[in-house]
Symmetry: C2
Subunit: 417 residues, 2 copies
Amino acid sequence: MPKPRQPSPLAPRTPVPPVAVAGARFATLAAGIRYTGRPDLLLIELEPGSTAAGVFTRSLTAGHPVLWCREALARGLEQGGRARAVIVNAGNANVCRGAEGDAAVAREVAAVQAALDCAAEEVLVASTGVIGERLAVEKIEAAVPALVAGLRADGVDAAARAIMTTDTFAKWASATASIGGKTVTLTGIAKGSGMIAPDMATMLAFAVTDAALPAPVLQTLLNRAADRSFNATTVDGDTSTSDTLLLFATGRAGNAPPRSADDSGLADFVRALDAVMIELAQQVVRDGEGAQKFIEIGVKGALDDAAARRIGLVVANSPLVKTAIAGADANWGRIVMAVGKAGETIDPARLGVAFGGHDVALNGAAVPDLDEAPVAAHLAGSEIIIDITVGDGPGRATVWTCDLTHGYIDINADYRS
Amino acid sequence: MPKPRQPSPLAPRTPVPPVAVAGARFATLAAGIRYTGRPDLLLIELEPGSTAAGVFTRSLTAGHPVLWCREALARGLEQGGRARAVIVNAGNANVCRGAEGDAAVAREVAAVQAALDCAAEEVLVASTGVIGERLAVEKIEAAVPALVAGLRADGVDAAARAIMTTDTFAKWASATASIGGKTVTLTGIAKGSGMIAPDMATMLAFAVTDAALPAPVLQTLLNRAADRSFNATTVDGDTSTSDTLLLFATGRAGNAPPRSADDSGLADFVRALDAVMIELAQQVVRDGEGAQKFIEIGVKGALDDAAARRIGLVVANSPLVKTAIAGADANWGRIVMAVGKAGETIDPARLGVAFGGHDVALNGAAVPDLDEAPVAAHLAGSEIIIDITVGDGPGRATVWTCDLTHGYIDINADYRS
């Protein structure tokens, strides 16, 4: 087992308490799946009639819970896309177990379904932890009655703690917004700290709003928000088999349900959803394994926003860029290198790089007689901003990552037998 | 400046001396471009009538020497694809310098052209080192007469040393083959140890044969060999702005020139060329920054060989796989993760992983009751073999990489101001 990690130096200093959401309840329990002496099982219950949307890993070796969630959401959509619960365990990812893995998910679903008296496809499942080992599903089955008995509305922070693996701090975010004059609340939790730490996999995030949002609308809103948040962050470029982002809408706020995700009355909700998702995604990066510096990379001048994001992620994933930042080194040549390997159309004669707003390269060449002092001062800090110009196209994107340090190696190599 | 590195523990123990090639001569010189007290400039001269072929970085921010080489080879092809020389410096990559960078290359070419009395496009240029700083081209110009005066046939090992940046050992390889009953010789040198070390970029390789090979044939043979060697290796997934692989054929062996790269009489030469290129590419990996283990990854069962290679390279570039191997950890879950993110069609139900020939996962699930002792013994060594089955397709590939250790972080982050 890994040594306990020190809290990340990039953790939020004064976390705001999470806000409860009408129609959602939480329960946690120590089931002893892998960890001892801490909760490792979470049940989120949604009121009957709640809608659900999900975004999942693109991995072609996705875990058994992900396979189920995709199927359940697709199947449930015909009946309005309802969900009643998601059950989550930490310590075992239930991946690569063949028929046994699928059967374990079915047993989890059946246990929750029986306790809540709902349809199978209304029960979603997520797991995070070791890949390839058998999930002790009997412990989860046995725990379900106690979980259901313990459901409470104010359990958000405990919920965030129960799904941690090598996370060094619990992650949550809340926001409010107005839809058609009604105030709606949105709260999310997340876990993740790199793709994984020793054997522990996965980014998981679950969010609930009391807004009334039909499932297809919810799904479109979630897809867009994920693109601007989780899909714009990276710790090490590795993709978990189990990444799961679920958003539930209980409808308790009483707003008139919008017909389309493009309904103008949703603008404020979209802002709040983006804010919560970006906050959760950034917290995952801030808990990146070994991270000492949080890095925001802005890209402009690409052909379109998608190209800009791809360039940003290639830069964010470059071990040489990440180690340079760890070393507080204004090594813009490595950024040029990473931009060059991204495979996107760029204009080398327009290439520019700035650290903390200070240009170091402009129009494809080094800035002559650069005053390095303000650049060095910026890079000595723990919040790094890199702006990259790659041409004069309209495409822009912002992505977030962390530096690559000895801590990453310690966590991923040294602390194993 | 970085601290001098210890020789890589993966360096060849008893290197075979390089073999001279008729029609090729070498000269080196300490020009003081960045380093002091060591040769940093190399001239390789080829007899009149020699042919040339090249493979270059795919980076869209390629260095000024790469831009020239591409143009010179394309232009020269109309006159039979001849080359008389390549001039190489270490310490400055001449990248991102705008018009000044192109002018510097032109001045290098002009100096060599004047000394050897040849066409401009017969002079190729390569540079490795810092990106974005001005190349002291006047030092190179001044050195050309002395380089030409010092040309000698047996300078291969000195040539290999002159192009080193953070390499910890000089890299060369030689082989002989038969073409139509004539014995031909092939010798190559290379430098590189990761994409880069502190500011030092680039994989460079230069090879010469005395075979008579028309330029278009030589280019096809080189493309194929590069695909099986340099394009199947990775240290950190980062792509230099300056990667350059050049192959010259002097024709002195007197074989009848083949008309096509598919001429059956070339089979033995193709074998020898592959052997030299693979040996050079593997030496670059063995000198990977911080490398403690050399990793060979075999992939089978993919849709085709190209898909297999892409999967292999994604596994080879995964920081989590590389740190697991550094920690001698039989963490096949990370390999499954990396296969899953490669984006290639695979069959999860056929997925298999073996370390050193010992199966740990078969048919999409963990091997039950695995005896871990032989796996652990294999992973404790420094030459690691990973075999991955991804389906039952005909595609196969082998790629090579190294582990990711504290040494990589030391070299790329700690040793900078």
